[in-house]
C-alpha cells in the first residue's frame, strides 16, 4: 500500500479498539446507495520507477527549447542554492505558520521577504504573497475600491498596455462586483499610455489608475507624469511592475512627486522557474495608510514572554478565517514556497547582483533587437525605451513563422495577433541574461532563413491547426 504504513496486525488492533468489525463499518454513516459502486475509472498504480520512465519521457518532449518568449514569464538563471535550500523538507512540507512558535523559520523568512520586497518597490509594506501577478493586480484594484468609500460606482482605468491576460483576470475577479473597467488605449507610435487620452477618459467616479512598468510591450511608461496626474485627480495609482526591473528602474514608491500608492506584479523573475506557468507568486506592496486594506498574510515582529524577538502572522482580523464574509479577500493558501525561493534568490544576488541581472538582460535584448532589425522586412514597432522585451513586425504571418521556428525547437516570441489585431503581424520578443551571443546568432539565422523561404505558407499550413497556444 503506497504511503500507508499499516501492517495487517495494526489494522486488526485498531479495528478492535474502535470496536468495528471491518473497514467497511467505518463508513456506515454514509447511505449505502450513495457509495461508489464501480471501480474508479483510473489507471492502476505505478511504481515510482515506472512513473519515472513515463515522466522522463514527457519532460523530454518539451525539453531543450531555446526560448525568446517573455510576455509575463521570464527565463533567468536560478542559482542552484535557491531550490536546494527551499526544497528542504522543513520549508516544503510545513503548513501555514498557524503555530508561530513552531514556525519561526518560515515566519522570519517571510518578514525578511516583506522587507526586501517593500524596499525593492520603495513602499512601506508588503504582504506575504498572492497567487500570481494577475490576481495581485485584481486584489490591488479591490484594495483601491475599499480605500475609496466615497464613490458608489467605481471606475478603474486599465490601460491596454497592461498584460492582456492580467486584464482578463481582473475582469473575471472584480467583474462580480459593482466596478467598471475602462480600457485605455495606447499610443500606436510610442506603445505607451498617453496622458491626453487619460484625461479624456477620466471621470468623477474614477477610483484607480493602473500603471505598468515596463508595460506589456516591454516599453517604459512615463510613470512620473502618470502618477502625478493620478495624485492631482485623487485617483489611487497602482503600479504593476517586473520586480527584477526595479533593481534598475525607478521603483513605484518614487514615481512622481508622491510615489504610487500600491505596487504589485509577478514575482516569478526572482528565482522561480518557468515551469509551464506556475506555481509563481504575486507580490503586493503599498503605502502604510493602505495596510488595513492589504489582503493576504502579513508577518509581524514581536516578542515572546521573555522579551525575545519572534515573528507571528499579524493583522489577522482582516482575513477570512476571522472576518469571514467581511474579509479583505478570500485568499487562504498562498504561494509561500515561491516567496521562500525568491527571498533566497534576492539574498544571493543582493542589490548589485540583481541590478546586474537586469542590466545584462537589457543589454542582451538590445543586441537581439539590433540583429533582428537587420533582417529584411523585420521592423521594430515602438520607438520608446525598453527594458528587455519589445515588439517587431514580420513580413509574413507570425503564427506560421513561430510554428516553423518551434519545429526546430526555437521559441521565437509571443504572437500579438489575436490580442492586438490592430498592430498587424506582430511578435513580442524577449532576451534575458541567459542568452548568449551564440543563441542570438542562431535565432537570427533561423528567422532569416524562414522569412526568405518562399514556400512558407504551404509548409506551415499543414501544421497550422496546432500552431496556437491557449489564448
Amino acid at each position: 500500500m503506497p504511503f500507508i504504513p499499516h501492517s495487517a496486525q495494526d489494522i486488526q488492533e485498531m479495528l478492535a479498539t474502535i470496536e468495528a468489525a471491518n473497514m467497511e463499518q467505518l463508513f456506515d454513516e454514509i447511505p449505502a446507495h450513495l457509495r461508489v459502486k464501480n471501480v474508479l475509472a483510473i489507471p492502476e498504480s505505478l511504481t515510482e520507477m515506472e512513473l519515472g520512465r513515463l515522466m522522463r519521457a514527457r519532460a523530454q518532449q518539451d525539453n531543450n527549447l531555446l526560448c525568446f518568449i517573455g510576455a509575463g514569464a521570464y527565463e533567468h538563471h536560478i542559482p542552484a542554492a535557491v531550490w536546494e535550500v527551499a526544497s528542504r523538507g522543513e520549508f516544503m512540507t510545513a503548513y501555514t505558520p498557524y503555530q508561530a512558535e513552531a514556525s519561526q523559520g518560515t515566519l522570519q523568512l517571510l518578514y525578511e521577504y516583506q522587507t526586501m520586497m517593500a524596499s525593492l518597490m520603495a513602499l512601506d509594506v508588503s504582504n506575504a504573497s498572492m497567487y500570481d501577478g494577475a490576481t495581485a493586480l485584481a486584489e490591488a484594484v479591490l484594495m483601491a475600491v475599499r480605500a475609496n468609500r466615497k464613490n458608489k460606482l467605481h471606475r478603474i482605468l486599465l490601460p491596454r498596455s497592461v498584460h492582456p491576460f492580467y486584464r482578463q483576470v481582473v475582469k473575471t475577479i472584480i467583474g462580480q462586483q459593482n466596478i467598471q473597467i475602462d480600457d485605455i488605449p495606447f499610443d500606436i507610435n510610442t506603445g505607451r499610455i498617453s496622458l491626453a487620452v487619460l484625461k479624456e477618459v477620466a471621470a468623477e467616479t474614477t477610483t484607480a489608475l493602473v500603471i505598468p512598468q515596463p508595460n506589456f510591450f516591454g516599453v517604459l511608461e512615463e510613470v512620473d507624469a502618470l502618477t502625478d496626474w493620478a495624485y492631482t485627480k485623487n485617483v489611487i495609482s497602482i503600479a504593476v511592475v517586473n520586480p527584477l526591473a526595479m533593481a534598475l528602474l525607478k521603483p513605484p514608491g518614487q514615481w512622481g512627486k508622491t510615489g504610487a500608492d500600491i505596487a504589485c506584479g509577478e514575482g516569478q523573475p526572482l528565482g522561480v522557474p518557468l515551469a509551464s506557468g506556475g506555481p509563481y507568486y504575486g507580490f503586493l506592496c503599498c503605502k502604510k495608510e493602505f495596510v488595513r486594506q492589504l489582503p493576504g498574510r502579513i508577518v509581524g515582529r514581536t516578542v515572546d514572554q521573555e522579551g525575545k524577538q519572534g515573528f507571528v502572522l499579524t493583522l489577522q482580523a482582516r482575513e477570512q478565517h476571522i472576518r469571514r464574509a467581511k474579509a479583505t479577500s478570500n485568499i487562504c493558501t498562498n504561494q509561500g514556497l515561491l516567496v521562500t525561493a525568491s527571498t533566497i534568490y534576492m539574498s544571493l544576488l543582493g542589490p548589485k547582483g540583481l541590478r546586474q541581472v537586469a542590466i545584462t538582460s537589457h543589454q542582451n535584448a538590445e543586441l537581439l533587437k539590433e540583429k533582428l532589425s537587420t533582417i529584411e522586412g523585420v521592423e521594430v514597432v515602438f520607438q520608446s525605451p525598453r527594458f528587455h522585451e519589445w515588439v517587431i513586425r514580420l513580413p509574413k504571418p507570425v503564427a506560421l513563422v513561430l510554428r516553423q521556428l518551434a519545429e526546430r525547437k526555437m521559441q521565437g516570441g509571443f504572437n500579438l495577433n489575436s490580442m492586438y489585431p490592430e498592430l498587424g503581424e506582430c511578435l513580442l520578443v524577449c532576451a534575458t541574461e541567459t542568452k548568449t551571443e551564440e543563441d542570438i546568432r542562431k535565432f537570427v539565422t533561423l528567422l532569416t532563413s524562414i522569412l526568405s523561404s518562399t514556400n512558407l505558407l504551404d509548409k506551415a499550413e499543414q501544421g497550422g491547426a496546432h500552431a496556437k497556444t491557449y489564448l
Partner: protein
C-alpha cells in the same frame, strides 16, 4: 534564533558566482527612468545565505520532521519521488506560452489529471486553473452566478453556508457579490434541516457545504439538503477540503453536488510549502460545464490543445495569467498515478481508520468528543470546555504544550461553534505507533493541566521562542525591518 539576514549584510558582498558577467554595452534607457539608490537587500556571501536559510528551516515543524494532525489540512506524506520528477529540467524550463507542439508532455499530464478528477468526483467537467481551494471556491460560486445569469434568473442574491463552514466560504460568496446567510448545525453535527428549509427561497443562488463537514462527521441527510436547495432553484457547492475522507468511497457528483473544488495540496499530497502553493481545480456537473474557467486542455486527433475564451464563450474567464499552478498539477497527477485506483480507495479507508482509532483512544482516556454518538470521518473534534472551566487551561494552552512534545498542534478554535475545540486529522500516512505517541502526549498534558497548570499555560518551553505576543504584534506593527510603522 538566527539573526536577520540584514544583520549579516556588509557593503560590497554578494554571491559572486551568481552575478552575470559585465558586458561592455550601453544601457539604452534615459536617466529619469532609472533607480537612483540601491534597494535595501542584504549583501552577503553564498555560504552565509545557505547557512542562514538552512538554519531558519530548522526552526520549523513540518511533515518531514513531525506528526502534524492539523484538522482540515490533510497533512500527509508528500512523496519525494513526485517532487523529484516535477523538477526535471524539461518541466522546469518550459515556457507557459510555448506552442502546443512544444508542450505535449506537460499537456498530457494535465489532460489525464482532468480525467482522473472527473472519475473521483463523479463530475462531468474539470478545470485545473484555480490556484488554491479559495480560488476554486471563487470559480465555483462565480459559475453559480453565471449559471443563473445565463438563465436570466437575476434575483438570486444569497448564498447559504453552514455555521461550521470554513472562513473562505463566506468570504468567497461575498467576493462574488452575494449576501451570505448562515445555517445552524443541529446537536448531532448535521445541518439543521428545518432552518435550511426556512432559509431557501427564490433569492437562493446556492449553498456551500463540505461533507464530511468541518465538524468531522458525515452529513447523512445530504440528499435531502440537495433536494431542498435544488427545489428552491439553487445549486449545491462542495468544498473539497475534506475529500480525503471519501476518496473512492462516495462521490460529490453522486451526492447531488453541482460544483466543487479539490485542494490538491491536501487530498493529492502536494507539499504545502509553509503556506502555499496549493491547487484548487474545480469540477462541475453537466449544466455548469460551459462556465468553467479557462484554459482547459482538450485532446484533438491525438494532440493536446488548449481551449480558451474562444472555444468556451460562456466561461467565467481566466483566473491566472497562465494556467494556474502547473507544477502542482503535475505533482497531483503523479501522486494519482502512484496511487492508482486501488490506492485512491485506501486513502479514505486508512484516513478514517486512523481518525476513529484516535477518537476511540482519546475517549477512553477521558477526552470529550464534540459529537459523542458519531463516527469520525477522517477527522474529529474534541472539546476542552470542561478542562478550561475546571483547570483554566484552554485549547490554546494544550495546543502550545503539544509543541513541547514535538508534535504539531491540531487546528484550534475551528469550527467556531464548538467551544475550546481541537480539530484533529491524523491522515492515512501516519502509523499506529505515532498515533499512540500522540494519545500518550495528550494524556500527559491533561495530567499536567491538573497538577501543574502553569506549565501548560506558559507553554511552549522547548522551542526557539516562548509564547509570542500577538497583541503587541498587531498594535505596534513591525512588518518591515528598520521601518517600524506607527500604529494606525
Amino acid at each position: 534564533m538566527p539573526k536577520l539576514i540584514f544583520e549579516l549584510s556588509r557593503h560590497g558582498r554578494c554571491a559572486r558566482a551568481q552575478v552575470p558577467r559585465h558586458i561592455p554595452r550601453a544601457i539604452n534607457i534615459p536617466k529619469h527612468f532609472l533607480r537612483q539608490e540601491e534597494p535595501f537587500l542584504p549583501e552577503v556571501a553564498e555560504l552565509q545565505v545557505v547557512r542562514h536559510f538552512t538554519r531558519l528551516s530548522r526552526n520549523n515543524f513540518s511533515i518531514d520532521t513531525q506528526f502534524y494532525p492539523l484538522g482540515s489540512c490533510s497533512m500527509k506524506y508528500n512523496p519525494r519521488g513526485v517532487h523529484h520528477l516535477a523538477m526535471l529540467e524539461g518541466f522546469l524550463n518550459h515556457h507557459p506560452l510555448s506552442l502546443d507542439i512544444n508542450s505535449q508532455g506537460y499537456m498530457a499530464c494535465a489532460y489525464e489529471l482532468q480525467e482522473i478528477l472527473k472519475a473521483v468526483t463523479g463530475m462531468s467537467g474539470v478545470s485545473l486553473t484555480p490556484m488554491a481551494g479559495a480560488q476554486g471556491e471563487f470559480a465555483g460560486v462565480a459559475m453559480i452566478r453565471a449559471y443563473h445569469f445565463a438563465r436570466h434568473d437575476l434575483e438570486r442574491k444569497e448564498i447559504l453556508v453552514p455555521d461550521a463552514a470554513h472562513g473562505t466560504n463566506p468570504a468567497t460568496a461575498a467576493q462574488c457579490g452575494f449576501i451570505v446567510r448562515e445555517i445552524p448545525t443541529d446537536t448531532e453535527g448535521n445541518v439543521d434541516i428545518e432552518s435550511l428549509r426556512a432559509a431557501v427561497g427564490p433569492q437562493t443562488a446556492g449553498m456551500m457545504l463540505t461533507n464530511p463537514s468541518t465538524l468531522g462527521v458525515f452529513e447523512q441527510k445530504i440528499q435531502d439538503i440537495a433536494a431542498i436547495v435544488h427545489q428552491a432553484g439553487g445549486l449545491l457547492y462542495y468544498d473539497g477540503a475534506n475529500l480525503n475522507a471519501i476518496l473512492g468511497k462516495v462521490r460529490p457528483g453522486d451526492m447531488g453536488f453541482d460544483v466543487m473544488h479539490i485542494n490538491l495540496h491536501k487530498t493529492f499530497a502536494t507539499p504545502h510549502g509553509g503556506g502555499g502553493p496549493g491547487g484548487g481545480p474545480v469540477a462541475v456537473s453537466d449544466r455548469l460545464v460551459p462556465f468553467l474557467p479557462t484554459p482547459i486542455v482538450v485532446q484533438r486527433s491525438g494532440l493536446y490543445a488548449w481551449h480558451s475564451e474562444k472555444e468556451c464563450p460562456q466561461t467565467i474567464g481566466r483566473l491566472s495569467a497562465f494556467m494556474g499552478n502547473a507544477g502542482i498539477i503535475l505533482r497531483a497527477y503523479m501522486y494519482a498515478r502512484l496511487l492508482g485506483k486501488e490506492g485512491m480507495e485506501r486513502v479514505a479507508e486508512f484516513a478514517t481508520l486512523n481518525a476513529n482509532y484516535l477518537l476511540a483512544k482519546l475517549k477512553a482516556a477521558g477526552f470529550t468528543p464534540a459529537y459523542v454518538n458519531r463516527r469520525a470521518s477522517h477527522e474529529f473534534i474534541i472539546t476542552l470546555k470542561t478542562e478550561a472551566k475546571e483547570w483554566h487551561v484552554t485549547a490554546l494552552d494544550v495546543a502550545k504544550r503539544l509543541l513541547d512534545y514535538d508534535i504539531h498542534a491540531p487546528t484550534m478554535y475551528f469550527p467556531l461553534l464548538v467551544p475550546e475545540c481541537l480539530l484533529i486529522e491524523p491522515t492515512e500516512t501516519e502509523s499506529k505507533e505515532m498515533l499512540d505517541i500522540f494519545v500518550e502526549a495528550l494524556i500527559q498534558i491533561l495530567h499536567e493541566a491538573k497538577t501543574q497548570p502553569d506549565l501548560v499555560r506558559t507553554a511552549p518551553h522547548t522551542l526557539s521562542v516562548r509564547r509570542l505576543d500577538e497583541v503587541k504584534a498587531a498594535r505596534e506593527l513591525d512588518v518591515v525591518y528598520k521601518q517600524i510603522i506607527d500604529p494606525l
